[in-house]
Subunit: 217 residues, 2 copies
């Protein structure tokens, strides 16, 4: 790895890692990937080495500018503040910024944590699928209703934002848990629009250095 | 209620509502409280009226400047951007801002959602206490380790920040679930320091308009 080049500790399938990968791609920040396999070896995120980087034992973590950052939204806000070009991920208007953060937090606090690997393990194998479907379902019902008043081409108006970086990976999780997306036409439409963009494609779980061959695009 | 005065939809015991109450107190923003009882009537957050305000059926929601905001951290960021004085809740330096947001997100995405009322109801009465103790315990172990490198008098250095607004209400939850705090000396010390401040006292669950008489300070 090149000195000074940012390093992203990432797992191909982690939706929180994917959020940051999209931000890095949109902002054209070159980086190296350090894969952390969340299943293998009982979870490489629990290794002593990784816990020094992130005591929460979660991906992503980003080494950049001489520091190690964790928590995907905190990382994205940092990238936005230090690298506002070429693409802004937060609008200028405070009320629109609030909408972007509300949607991002709805997903990042209200949905994803309730269906991540650690929680599903606690829930137990028999009920984890219905549990995941239920928490994603309630979250998406609320999100669809929020988007009715905020969405344009994207989650908030016609400019891409941090909210979109949360939406697409969460829809991928929903699909993995076989959630029926037909009750959520706005979520569905925005997700499809975003998936045509290069930044969402290069950052996709099917195209990462640690993607297993059988899941490669 | 006075026209133009902000209205906070709040539940005395909700840790997310408390975060926002502290922000409003620190920034000396006068507001009315509209209590939403999360238990009574099967949960008033599920009423049609409240779901129009917040489709996620969660407190807090804040009516301010002609809009209704939800998600506590999005609300606090909005208050910070529109009312930076008299107390700033985010430092100026981007790396310190990232530390504040990392700690805030660790609590707001990594701990609180896993032990809120809705999840504990799903978990079931018999196991909800051990579940809550376990998720708060893992979160606090990580948080204590993070604070070893960020904390001064408060969570990040010697200036109060959004991270502190997340810490105190989460410690109150921990106490309610009888989590032993002795393994977390830094969390404990910062919490005690903050609880001596007026903004944390007036916003305390024991002093809200909807606090039941038997729980009043």
């Amino acid at each position: 790895m090149q000195a000074g080049k940012p390093v992203l500790y990432s797992y191909f399938r982690s939706s929180c890692s994917w959020r940051v990968r999209i931000a890095l791609a949109l902002k054209k920040i070159d980086y190296d990937t350090f894969p952390v396999h969340l299943i293998k070896d009982g979870g490489q995120q629990f290794s002593e080495e990784f816990q020094t980087l992130n005591p929460m034992s979660q991906v992503p973590a980003l080494k950049i500018d001489g520091v190690t950052l964790t928590q995907s939204l905190a990382i994205i806000e940092y990238l936005e503040e230090t690298r506002p070009t070429p693409v802004r991920l937060l609008p200028q208007d405070p009320k629109k910024r609030a909408s972007v953060r509300m949607i991002s937090d709805l997903i990042a606090s209200g949905i994803q944590p309730l269906q991540n690997i650690a929680v599903l393990k606690k829930v137990g194998q028999e009920t984890q699928l219905t549990w995941a479907q239920s928490v994603i379902g309630s979250g998406f019902r609320a999100l669809e209703q929020v988007l009715q008043s905020t969405a344009g081409k994207y989650c908030v108006g016609n400019e891409i934002s941090m909210a979109d970086l949360c939406l697409v990976p969460q829809v991928a999780n929903a699909e993995r848990f076989k959630v029926d997306l037909s009750p959520y036409p706005i979520i569905n439409r925005i997700n499809k629009t975003l998936l045509t963009m290069e930044a969402f494609q290069v950052s996709h779980p099917s195209r990462q250095p640690d993607t297993p061959p059988e899941l490669r695009a």
